[in-house]
Amino acid sequence: MYKAVVIGGSAGSFQVITKILSSLPKDFPLPVLLSLHRLKHVRSGFVEALSIKSKIPIVEPYDKETIKPGRGYLAPSNYHMYVELNKRIALSTEEPVNHSRPSIDLTFETAAQAYRDKIIGIILSGANRDGAHGLKKLKQLGGTAIVQDPNECQVRTMTEASLKLTSVDHIFTTQQIINFLLKLK
């Protein structure tokens, strides 16, 4: 059975994330790791905005916080968010990757190493190529790779970059992503 979901998104992904979070039940059985590009000087507001419609609690985790099911973990602004092998969050101010901190690639890679074949990785709308390598790694380690249908994306660069590198398990619309996650219950 799956143990975690990791989602990466950038430009055009906010509404998709909000829709997914608002559809998940309060007792959703997995943790949801969110690595989303955001303004580095705006520290507050984002987690609150995501929380408005979400039934699961969304937090910007503290360093070394234990990952628990039924919670959303949003990478804090200006930090990378990693998963340690003991399933704790680790934060980092190491150099940006592809101009991004948080880097979706790094969250996906380390989450994949921690959860191996027990993880679902989802890449959403975005205007750069971040996430493509991370999703590839996740798939190589046995995880399930999902990409939002580029035709539905506000900006399709990120999903197309992922599809180019990885033969994914599913190309889904937002509604199909939601249906897939709800079946995990």
Partner: protein, 276 residues
């Protein structure tokens, strides 16, 4: 992009080599972090694999020093998190520094020194710099040398200038550094009251009577064992009612820690040592 990937066994062997040859104990660094840093060094110096790394580091002391520099994560930028520096400027420093004749500020682990220069600039603008002494420690001799000389990466100038304007809209950061088109350098008179200490991972010797410690975003690279050990040492160095500032998403949390520290500002992670 084929990244070299270090296995867990190789990582452990490297940790053992560093311990055996140089007596530096990295086993309580966060494992994924340590592994990633070594991978980066292996790639940067074209060492092929863990064995290549081990051979080189066993033979070359200079390479070990370079490695110590690489293990330290760049502080990223001046005035990272403007809200904190505004609190220091507006509320904390004037009151605290004026309460004593010798206000000691300690930076237990510096990499590129941005926090040291940020606070020294604030203190100069408040006309308090002469009343303060700094203690700066680092595992990396190379980093300490760069800080002493005030060198910093010119690529950071733009971000630094923008951050500075968020706090001091009426003045320019360029009053405090020089840039000749190649080399960027802080005005080193900002840090003339500074003692530099090269240290091992855990200090051999640490300062006493410290009134303020800035230790932001360093413990994130340690595991919980090393985090707790650090926090306890810092506690012993602070005077009662001294302050400790850690990173926004770091927390002091060990058994009975609320007997030692009061959290005085949650969003900026400012703690105060309790009067015992």
């Amino acid at each position: 992009m084929n990244k070299y990937e270090l296995g867990i066994v190789d990582t452990r062997n490297i940790i053992k080599t560093l311990q055996d040859v140089y007596n530096y104990d990295f086993k309580n660094y966060a494992l994924t972090f340590f592994k990633r840093r070594v991978e980066k060094v292996i790639q940067k110096y074209a060492l092929k694999d863990a064995d290549g790394f081990i051979k080189k580091i066993e033979l070359e002391k200079e390479f070990f020093e370079l490695f110590l520099k690489e293990i330290c994560v760049d502080t990223t930028e001046m005035f990272r998190d403007p809200a904190l520096w505004r609190i220091l400027n507006d509320d904390m420093l004037t009151k605290l520094v004026n309460s004593t004749s010798n206000f000691k500020i300690w930076f237990p682990e510096v990499s590129t020194g941005e926090e040291l220069f940020s606070i020294s600039i604030i203190l100069r603008k408040l006309n308090l710099l002469d009343k303060v002494s700094f203690i700066v420690s680092s595992v990396s001799e190379i980093n300490l040398e760069n800080i002493k000389n005030g060198y910093f990466d010119p690529k950071k100038i733009e971000t630094n200038d923008v951050n500075f304007k968020r706090i001091y809209s009426e003045s320019n950061l360029s009053d405090f550094y020089s840039f000749d088109g190649e080399k960027a350098q802080w005005d080193t008179s900002l840090i003339k009251n500074t003692k530099f200490i090269k240290q091992n991972i855990i200090f051999d010797d640490y300062p006493k009577g410290v009134r303020l410690i800035l230790f932001r975003n360093h413990m994130i690279y340690y595991n919980q064992i090393l985090q707790e050990r650090f926090i306890k040492i810092l506690y012993n160095c602070l005077i009662p009612a001294g302050h400790l500032i850690i990173g926004n998403n770091e927390k002091i949390e060990y058994w009975n820690s609320d007997k030692d520290y009061t959290l005085v500002n949650k969003s900026e992670s400012i703690y105060k040592k309790k009067l015992s």
